[in-house]
Amino acid sequence: MQFRPFYFLKESLVSFKKNWVISMAGITTVALSLLLVGAFMLFAFAMNNIIKSTEQKVEVVLFLAEGVPAESVEALQAEIISWEEVKKATYVSKEQALGRLKQEFKESDMLEMLEGNPLPASLEVTLKNPQKANDVVDRLKGRSEIDDIRHDRETVERLFQVTRVARWFIVVFVGLLAFTSLVLIANAIRLAIYARRKEVAIMRLVGASNWFIRWPFLLEGILQGFIGGIIAALLLYLAKVMLIDKIKGALVFLPISSSPQEFYQLIFALLAAGMFIGAAGSAIALRRFLRV
């Protein structure tokens, strides 16, 4: 069997031009489904980063009540450290807390409105095993020295839950869209086969090899999927530049930065997925409508 890429490509382009309206339907749905996948992946990357950086932070923060004497704070700190689940407990004074906040927001003028120091002193407790956070929190609840307990584990778990639900939703939705694109591409290829049925009949008659007959149609499907992938990648790139990078500038405290490398991997994966959907769609059409 001889593979002649330029001949096949020429044939599929001619056929593509002939029924581009139908081809557009397939391309659009491929683009749409890949765009959704891509958007979700960006969202998931960001979520992952938030989760990771939250986990690296302190698991339990004890905000101390105003006016608690220093010795009872020290006693509390010593007691907590003595617990076996606890790795360390660090004291953060009011001044240190304000200093940190200023550091975080040094690019914005939000803090100029701030009068005095509304921030409480705190004890930051790091655990040997973050899973034990609930036990520790239960034990500390109701202590008079402590005004409030922030427990980031809960935030992390809630984030996990959100992503899990979103993931299922996206998987189902994208699955449906991918199926639709598959059907639409198969349909476009079927019409391409129908439009060229005379040529196909003669090719079979004179003994063109089966793959020689199939290639142009297969390439046409792959081409449609690829174009859909390019559209999705372009839209995603625009979204990244115009939306995500802007949001990142505005919400400096959210660690949603995704590395450019991750982004390009994503783009590459989308293009590959588009071509795969295209190939699968035309394969269906070839199986059903082109018995060579």
């Binding site: 040529e199 008659l205 004179v206 063109a208």
Partner: protein, 229 residues
Amino acid sequence: MIRIKNVSMSYKGAHRPALKDINVDIDRGEFIFLVGPSGCGKSTFIRLLLRELIPTKGDIFIAGHDLVNMRRWRVPLLRRNIGCVFQDYKLLPNKTVYENVAFALEVIGRPTKVIKAQVPEVIRLVGLEEKLSNYPDELSGGEQQRVSIARAFANRPAIILADEPTGNLDPATSSGIMSLLNKINRTGTTVLVATHDREMVDSMRKRVIALEEGALMRDQQRGVYGYEE
């Protein structure tokens, strides 16, 4: 060249077989008429040789190849060795005479150099060298059938199968087509013509294979059409 042994063919859902226990041997370079009334199994016979169908019983060998047990990917290679001519010409309307013949060589991967040499030659053989760049709808029926014969012969197959090649043509044009097929036969090509054309068969006095209701009625050298209709 062609050996058909005890071949029967039944279509699914049909209550009588299209072919019943056919035995035929055809040597290299023979010219054969396949005759019989409509529905006698002539087309089935041809489709079996092209391996468009597989017989329900029996064996078919062409040039030593076993058609019944042939792998699917080998079928195209078989067909490159069999040229086909049909009643309705099967030309591509958007291609010129030259392109129609060249197409058959292109799609089996012949090199451009060979195509450029062979196509004009075979078109000259069928006598259409003046019409190289005409489209099929600018040609008469007889001329279109000549193009179709040129296409069938372009790859120099060992066998030419013609299914009612003169079915749409008037007698004068028909005899032109037949003498063209005869000319191709004289180059050593085996030619098998399925036909209704009584005068043609009677005047050419070639080997005649007659089918009736799927059965082989007669296989006769220098035969005649032989049916009273």
